[in-house]
């Protein structure tokens, strides 16, 4: 499949259909891919596609990289299901010109979470990893272990039911058949079942690890404000230090700002240097949005976002009690 991907991209360059292609290349660490920017056909050999390709590349079309979008460059971008939903979101929110994008979909069975692998090796460094259909084989100094691949899936992928980009120009291989496209949230439900005090304690403990590096915000495609509320100083909304109240306000506000817009790609929790489960609250909000508005972000290019439109027969129980 990698061969097919490279061939397609080469063809796009040769037919002058793209000026730039954003995809994944092999990273400098085992089990790691890295974003690559391909400017010419000769460089297509850098592209890969496998279970390490976790970055959501849509992020490079907005924020500080906005200049890529504004010049009328034709950009090709390789996307999984969740990434592709980010592109739909961008089209709905007028952040991209659809006609300038060549969307290349790839079939995704989930990306792995390196932290889970490290738990399996008891913290011992993995020096090389090989992926097979059902399992992965990891080697380090003095050990070689076989692990069931599906046990290593990133939190975002465990309950994913949108593995294919909803909108694409080219699809490499065959789109994946999902058993159902009903969203399930057993992880959120488990959290909801806990009593309030336990949930609060868990949250404070977890978010106290936050060092406010903003990696989560910066890798999130839905977070593209030119001036983020945390950077404003007139008025200043939150304190700059990682004091727990300020930290919680940052995260909760960010979660609310991406409410109904989050595509649950998991980039936030994978980027976090302190291993906080940042996806959990985003998924909780997505569940709420689904229940209240029967809306899922990034699927339909013609559907208005849930929180940016009004529908007469929406649930109004919050008013009526």
């Amino acid at each position: 499949m990698i061969k097919a991907l490279r061939e397609e991209v080469r063809r796009l360059f040769e037919e002058k259909k793209v000026d730039l292609v954003i995809g994944w290349g092999k990273g400098s660490l085992p089990m790691t891919a890295t974003p690559v920017f391909i400017h010419k056909a000769e460089d297509v050999e850098q592209l890969i596609w496998d279970e390490t390709c976790s970055n959501n590349l849509a992020v490079y079309l907005t924020k500080d990289k906005r200049q890529l979008v504004q010049t009328n460059q034709k950009i090709g971008i390789v996307v999984k299901g969740c990434d592709g939903r980010s592109l739909v979101l961008y089209a709905v929110e007028n952040q991209i010109k659809r006609e300038n994008l060549v969307i290349i979909g790839v079939p995704c069975n989930g990306v792995i979470d390196k932290k889970k692998v490290l738990k399996q090796t008891e913290g011992k460094e993995v020096l090389s990893a090989r992926f097979e259909k059902e399992r992965m084989v990891v080697e380090g100094r003095g050990f070689k272990t076989e692990i069931t691949k599906s046990d290593m899936l990133s939190r975002s992928c465990i309950h994913c039911n949108h593995p294919n980009a909803p909108v694409y120009d080219i699809f490499i291989g065959e789109p994946i058949n999902t058993d159902s496209d009903v969203a399930v949230y057993p992880d959120v439900e488990a959290f909801e079942k806990l009593d309030c005090e336990t949930r609060w304690k868990d949250m404070v403990e977890s978010y106290s690890q936050c060092i406010r590096c903003y990696a989560c915000r910066n890798v999130c495609p839905s977070c593209y404000c030119t001036e983020c509320f945390v950077d404003q100083n007139d008025p200043q909304w939150i304190g700059k230090s990682p004091e727990i109240t300020d930290t919680l306000i940052f995260h909760l506000n960010r979660n609310l700002h991406v409410a109904g817009r989050c595509v649950e790609c998991g980039a936030c929790e994978r980027a976090c240097p302190a291993d906080i489960d940042l996806l959990r609250l985003n998924r909780k909000i997505s569940k709420e949005i689904l229940e209240r508005f029967n809306f899922t972000a990034g699927l339909d290019i013609d559907e208005k976002p849930a929180l940016a439109s009004f529908c007469e027969n929406e649930k109004q129980d919050f008013i009526m009690g």
Binding site: G27, T34, E125, R141, I211, G239, K240, S241, D275
Partner: protein
């Protein structure tokens, strides 16, 4: 050289924590850090490197400079019980020395105590650092690029190495010598022990990957100041601060006031040159508005600017930035690319 058998280690630690505020590696994975301990079983003695460096203790992320109440100002300086750091790797020990050059001293005003950071000095000057030799450098370790070594004795007050059955300790500084004088009842290392050290050192060095000489990099970097390569190198950076916050030698901070005009506090908190608004001025002008300018700033500061002033690399090759970067921007690859471009000029 003193030998503390592993069977004696628990007592040694317990005694140490009575004399000092004892810090050691605690925890696992990405939440591991140097924290206060009172017994050996609270420590993580098998961790190769903590995610959070000792910087989190010496230059805490947030620190109150002073509190004010009307016109009365109370300094945030605290007189602390002397600290002892067990298990600091040489990259981190060197890192703390480098930080001391900026915070505890002043190159520009060497004789003026007004230009020394009192908060830093209260901690660093009163700390005893034990540098623990590194048996199994990770694949991301590159201390040898910057003149370091897993068994380096260049930094710290004491040096120790773990053998099969014991810890062997020797003093490095005057503070270290004074500390060793307080130890009694322990054996001294035998010749066999010293031989074992040689073997362990060789094994550790065999884990290291081919190096780039940071000195050559430092000389060549100014040649490619304007090279379009910086656009390529910075393209995938998302401008967060994960690398800087986790780095043992990054020290940039912001100063903010909180409270009201008559009661509140002034504190400092870590900041990062990678944030787009770091250099934004009140007029709106931003000297480093482009990602390429900020990535260049970080690389140049670590491998050139600091060297110009202090004669050594600010990067100690610990490799944490490589592990933590959400887009796998590997500073080693960047260094190699830059060196290649500079050699072509």
């Amino acid at each position: 050289m003193i030998k503390i058998e592993k069977s004696e280690f628990g007592t040694f630690i317990r005694d140490l924590s009575a004399e000092y505020k004892l810090f050691a590696p605690v925890g696992e994975g990405r939440q591991s850090a140097f924290r206060e301990v009172s017994s050996a079983d609270q420590m993580n003695t098998s961790i190769q490197m903590t995610q959070n460096s000792p910087k989190t203790v010496f230059l805490p992320q947030t620190e109150v400079l002073f509190e004010f109440n009307g016109d009365d100002i109370q300094s945030g300086e605290k007189a602390a019980k002397p600290m002892f750091f067990w298990g600091v790797r040489s990259c981190d020990a060197r890192g703390m020395n480098l930080l001391d050059k900026v915070m505890g001293q002043s190159k520009q005003r060497p004789d003026d105590p007004a230009f020394q950071d009192p908060y830093w000095k209260a901690r660093f000057d009163n700390a005893v650092i034990l540098t623990l030799a590194c048996h199994e450098p990770a694949s991301t370790c590159f201390c040898h690029w910057t003149g370091g070594n897993p068994f380096s004795k260049e930094a710290g007050d004491l040096w120790a190495v773990e053998t099969e059955t014991a810890y062997l300790i020797e003093p490095l500084s005057e503070k270290g010598k004074d500390f060793v004088k307080t130890l009694s009842g322990y054996h001294t290392a035998s010749d066999k022990d010293k031989q074992e050290i040689k073997t362990l050192k060789k094994q550790a060095e065999s884990c290291l990957r081919p190096a780039v000489d940071a000195k050559i990099l430092k000389e060549k970097l100014p040649k490619i100041w304007d090279d379009p390569l910086w656009d390529e190198v910075s393209a995938k950076c998302v401008n967060c601060s994960a690398c800087a916050f986790i780095c043992p030698t990054c020290y940039c901070f912001d100063i903010q006031d909180e409270g009201k005009k008559d009661k509140g506090k002034r504190f400092r908190t870590w900041d990062c040159c990678m944030f787009p608004i770091f250099t934004k001025e009140a007029s709106g002008h931003n000297p480093r508005s482009l990602a390429r300018e900020r990535v260049r700033q970080r690389v140049m500061h670590k491998f050139n600017y600091f060297w110009e002033t202090y004669g050594e690399s600010l990067c100690t090759g610990c490799g944490r930035c490589i592990r933590v970067c959400p887009v796998n921007l590997d500073i080693r690859d960047v260094a190699k690319q830059l060196l290649e471009a500079a050699s072509a000029v």
